[in-house]
Symmetry: C2
DNA sequence: GTCTATAGGTAGATAGAC
DNA sequence: GTCTATCTACCTATAGAC
């Protein structure tokens, strides 16, 4: 614990907020520096390049999602794999509301994610594979995408920002489960 | 019908492709001009500003979506309103695969859309209102967003680009209908 | 209808003072 | 750890030739 404020952490928070507003490619280092109240040169003290900032912004969300996918893959039966996956996805969405929306939508952020294949490791593809299950029909693939993209997009939408974490988590899980054809009992 | 190629139309197609790759704010006039094989000045012959291009790119999709929402609102019973809305949304998604994905995800494009409120007219809000119905519980609101954003995001996803229009349309409609709790009969 | 040329500004990135 | 100053490259946009 240092006495100084955590400038690096504040920088990442600031960058995420600006990404949500202007997209990654629309967010200049100047904008980040201005919003943070420092100069561009100060930003370069923490990160060597612009891409490195975006990379650091998405890292925590990517870590949590990878853990959720791994937990789902560990289940033996298909039904349990799907349930565990959607449950873990809902948790990740709640913990990273803004980030997950950009992850699905902003082309600039997607470019960053795909460029760093090492850490990425195809986590989205693994998630879809779990949701699709052993019979990869077109219908099953589309249903998996609708559930995953619908839950992610909704979790980051400003229109549901008024819901508290528990309400949103439960409602996302219900809708996503129905989309893949596994409605939850009440 | 002119002998000359439709440069203005090619320009809009080119811009949409670049938007999908780099986002609206990451797409410069230079990139558009280069991809088109002309100079920036030629681009300015057709459009006075950068925003005007983005505006023209989204206009056809916005028109079709508005028509679909209006048709749904004209139905008397809630069930018919939802069915008509999802059916119309699926059609719009099929006709504008790339655009609809950006519409939901790219912050730069959303800024353009919201800036032109006249043509916009809150069509997204009207669509959600139709899907939510007379009882706007948090669960119903979330389900409406999951269906709409899930269908839109999936329709523009490169992973389903191999499906033909009819296959994708039917699968999107099935998954979206289940998400809002109105599963279709087969 | 497309071009060259250029204005005026901002981008990412670096060097070196404090 | 943050600053000033600066580089080169690119940006949007305009003026005017052909």
């Amino acid at each position: 614990m240092t006495e100084a404020v955590d400038t690096r952490g504040r920088l990442l928070d600031t960058a995420l907020g600006l990404y949500a507003e202007h997209g990654v490619e629309g967010t200049s280092l100047q904008k980040i520096a201005d919003a943070l109240g420092v100069t561009k040169a100060a930003v370069y003290y923490y990160f060597k390049t612009k891409d490195e900032i975006a990379h650091a912004v998405i890292e925590p969300g990517l870590r949590d999602l990878r853990a959720a996918v791994t937990a789902a893959e560990a289940q033996r039966r298909h039904g349990a794999r799907v349930d565990t996956m959607l449950d873990g996805l809902a948790d990740v969405i709640i913990r990273h509301r803004t980030l997950v929306r950009l992850f699905n939508g902003d082309p600039g952020l997607q470019r960053i994610v795909e460029a760093s294949v090492r850490e990425y490791g195809g986590v989205a593809e693994r998630m879809i594979a779990v949701l699709v299950g052993p019979e990869p029909t077109p219908e099953a693939r589309v249903a998996a995408f609708v559930a995953a993209l619908g839950m992610s997009g909704t979790g980051g939408a400003p229109e549901v920002a008024d819901l508290d974490d528990d309400q949103l988590r439960t409602a996302l899980l219900d809708a996503g489960s129905r989309a893949v054809g596994r409605p939850r009992r009440r």
